[in-house]
Amino acid sequence: MTFVNWLKRHLVVIAGLITLGYLLLPNVVVTVFSFNKPKGRFNYQWQQFSLDAWKDPCGVADMCGSLSISLQIAFWATIGATALGTMIAFALVRYRFRARGAVNSLIFLPMAMPEVVMAASLLTLFLNMGAQLGFWTILIAHIMFCLSFVVTAVKARVMSMDPRLEQAAQDLYAGPLQTFVRVTLPIAAPGIAAGALLAFALSFDDFIITNFNAGSTVTFPMFVWGSAQRGTPVQINVIGTTMFLVAVLLVLVSMVVSNRRNKQKPL
């Protein structure tokens, strides 16, 4: 009876932790299998513990090349989408103008469209224009689909900003530029950073849109896709594990830093 009661009381916690386990299980498998020494081309069955892949992460032909292409595209797509998106977000929150509704729906639509539809239509455009598929078409596509997410992230932050802070700066004889650089931008920064991080993650991980518009250029997700057909090297798991660890580490460090800052300056 007591066990049943205990179960009842903690039902939500247990169910939630099961879901968390479901979410993390593939990451655990990826990590474990990065230490595998597979027989044959595929790394789906556990054979033997080995550190070979970790010692030589770039030992697979073309993998690190594709990784570097993906990083370059993600970097430039982040810069492009963050710059354009931040401008749109400021315009939408700070100004009343005509066509505001139209702009809002143009921002919303790419997020509500299945990727395969966007990918196919963009390819139609590039084919019609006779564009050479490759780095540039991928970059164009990535900026396009990251843009909406940046706008949404920045908008949320700017909307919760107190406009009196900027008025105060102006009352203290700060010019428009000075107000923007010293007051507005620092307050909006977390939103912009969140948008940029999202854009980077989305661009780096995108497969469907890239697959349609890449031509013969191979990004990292496309390399992984190809290897699922040809044979998966263990090094893929090494990269996957590293990405996960770096992400967790970055978030933990940023949390510690912001905690310390909050302690130093109690508001």
């Binding site: 939500v12 428009p176 893929i236």
Partner: protein, 309 residues
């Protein structure tokens, strides 16, 4: 009287404060919008128009395509590929329901029960995003492998007998069956359910739960009458964020499924990139888009949160 008419309109707490238009920089918003909107018009809106025109073209790769208003392409595509369409909607629907059932407790846990663990659990929900989703989907091949622990457990518990009977699995395996595809879809889009749910749950005032308890509501009643209705915006946006991408996905169906589990995304991909039958592919993606828009509008109407979008 003059003071009355000049009084500013009452501000609702949700609406952002309306600022008087600034005199300087009347064109500033347009300059700010110009580059981004131009980008979206050229690389998002224009392609849609191109695709619409492609879908009513006839011809072949060698002779070139011409717009002939050949609407029969739509009919042909639908009559040939309706099983894949139906499957996409079914799989995406099943994955969405599973995401809601699995995601709600976790979102609830983070919002109300996690305490000082809240940030850590949040990190663990978001961090898998940084491992390429293809790598994680491939990991499901290992997890669901024929000789793996999952399949043998399901076999011992006779779960596979039931799923075989339902047609979700075939024989002694889970891989290459609908169950595997739905499992992969659920996994892939689960964070898109959890995050909106968490946002709307977190906004609920904890005192409402206490009030419900004070009025002798059992926990279940409190959930049914207070928590769940208040989390509806999260439920609606979460289901949309899972259903739409899941319906268009072809990665899970390809990696975890078989030829019997092909979804409409697989068909569009093959038509576009291998068979090079552009009109059919364009028509298919327009039908998919229309079907999704139709269902989404209907759903938003019925759930009564029209102000959401």
């Amino acid at each position: 009287m003059a003071t009355l008419t000049e009084a500013p309109p009452p501000l609702s707490p949700t609406a952002p404060e309306k600022k008087p238009p600034r005199r300087r920089g009347r064109f500033t918003p347009y300059w700010l919008l110009l580059p981004g909107i131009l980008w979206l018009l050229v690389f998002f809106a224009l392609p849609m128009i191109y695709q619409a025109s492609t879908s009513v073209q006839t011809g072949s790769l060698e002779t070139g395509y011409k717009v002939t208003w050949h609407f029969a392409t739509y009919w042909d595509a639908l009559s040939q590929y309706w099983p894949q369409f139906l499957r996409s909607l079914l799989y995406a629907g099943a994955a969405t329901v599973l995401c809601l059932v699995l995601g709600y407790p976790l979102a609830y846990l983070i919002a109300f029960r996690a305490g000082r663990w809240r940030n850590l659990i949040m990190i663990l929900v978001i961090a898998p995003f940084f491992t390429s989703f293809l790598i994680r989907t491939l990991a499901w091949k290992t997890i669901l492998a024929d000789s793996g622990p999952v399949v043998s457990t399901l076999n011992t518990l006779h779960v596979l007998d039931v799923t075989n009977w339902l047609g979700w699995t075939a024989g002694d395996r889970v891989l290459a069956t609908p169950l595997a595809v739905v499992c992969g879809l659920t996994y892939n889009f689960l964070p898109f359910m959890i995050l909106p749910l968490y946002t709307s749950l977190e906004r609920i005032d904890g005192r409402l739960h206490e009030a419900a308890g004070d009025l002798y509501a059992k926990p279940v009643t409190t959930f049914r009458k207070v928590t769940f209705p208040l989390s509806m915006p999260g439920v609606v946006s979460g289901t949309l964020l899972t259903f739409i991408p899941a319906a268009g996905d072809y990665v899970n169906a390809d990696l975890l499924g078989s030829t019997d589990t092909r979804m409409v995304g697989n068909v569009i991909q093959t038509q576009f990139l291998r068979i090079l039958d552009y009109p059919t592919a364009a028509a298919l993606s327009f039908i998919l888009m229309a079907a999704i828009l139709f269902m989404v509008t209907l759903y938003i109407r019925r759930s009564g949160t029209e102000d959401l979008v």
